[in-house]
Point group: C2
Chain length 166, copies 2
DNA sequence: TGATCGTGGATAAATAATATCCACAATAGT
DNA sequence: ACTATTGTGGATATTATTTATCCACGATCA
């Protein structure tokens, strides 16, 4: 039971996008270079983020991606759902009902184990829901030296693309 | 990010063993038949449970498995650790440090995302630690009809093996 | 019109989970 | 002592999931 590395990539990407000035975008290739990850897989992740409504995309010569919401409105759980999909970590595979169903009679429905697992997962989700891109950025400011943040911003300005005024 | 079906199998197995009378055992093949799962994989799971100290095993003609602890002493997290191993669900793959490390300088250590994930996982673990085989059995008694429980016990007595007195 | 970009799907490669098999050691019954 | 039975441990296949690659397409801008 391991979380996809895609989650880490998605969070990093969104943090970059969150530091982007208004009306500017970043293209997928620039992001994958910065994260040092596979360009094709990151593009796939970007599509997921777009479909989940977390990111806006603009095609074309000066196109790229930008945050669709304010940083404080994007929770870690939103990102998790976008990347890992709904469905939860535990899924009943019918073993319990095999044990307790006597001949032909099938599950009354709720598997006892599933009930506990859902409770545990809920506790887990609640933590992720309290953390947003904004709160992560705040922690990052505390954790990393200002030189690193400055370097990141410098890189961003070197890579960003200005959106065309409509 | 999906939990292994092995977890469900292990929990069911331990519940069966928990209903076993004192000084009796159940052999692996009987268990896998009851759970309707692969015999070889279940045997592998049994080895994990033995190595984790949750289950005792006795080889030989009348051998089999039995619970090594009292049902109230075995938590769901114990089982999870036995089956999924330590290491947690989130593992830093260095993407964060790629983004924030400026040339050569590598991670100061703590990845911000990892910190949150560990908090979330801790909340998740705490729920699993509060649930034991005993509490699960109690819920099972509430959930399933007494006929089913009787059927299960009947099956158990038909399959169990008496340990030889030493 | 041409270059650049995101979209979407098909598909391959890598990894993790599940399953199968076999030689071995320990035990009980004979 | 012998044999049948059972767990142990490892090697290895099979299957599912994740990660990676590739290509045809449509939109945007110079």
């Amino acid at each position: 039971m391991r979380m996809k590395s895609g989650m880490e990539q998605a969070v990093c990407t969104l943090i970059l996008l969150a530091r982007l000035p208004e009306r500017t975008t970043l293209k997928a290739e620039a992001i994958s270079e910065r994260l040092e990850v596979s360009p094709s897989y990151l593009k796939k992740l970007m599509r997921m983020l777009v479909q989940a409504g977390l990111v806006d995309s603009t095609p074309g010569t000066r196109g790229g991606f930008s945050l669709a919401k304010k940083p404080e409105e994007v929770t870690l759980y939103d990102i998790f759902l976008a990347v890992e999909g709904r469905g939860g970590m535990y899924r009943d595979r019918g073993v319990f009902t095999s044990v307790f169903a006597c001949e032909g009679q099938r599950s009354t429905g709720t598997c006892v184990l599933g009930h506990v697992m859902r409770r545990a997962e809920k506790a887990w989700v609640e933590v992720l829901e309290q953390e947003t891109l904004a709160s992560l950025l705040q922690q990052i400011r505390k954790t990393y030296s200002s030189e690193r943040l400055a370097e990141m911003d410098a890189w961003l300005t070197s890579q960003l693309r200005e959106e065309v005024n409509e």
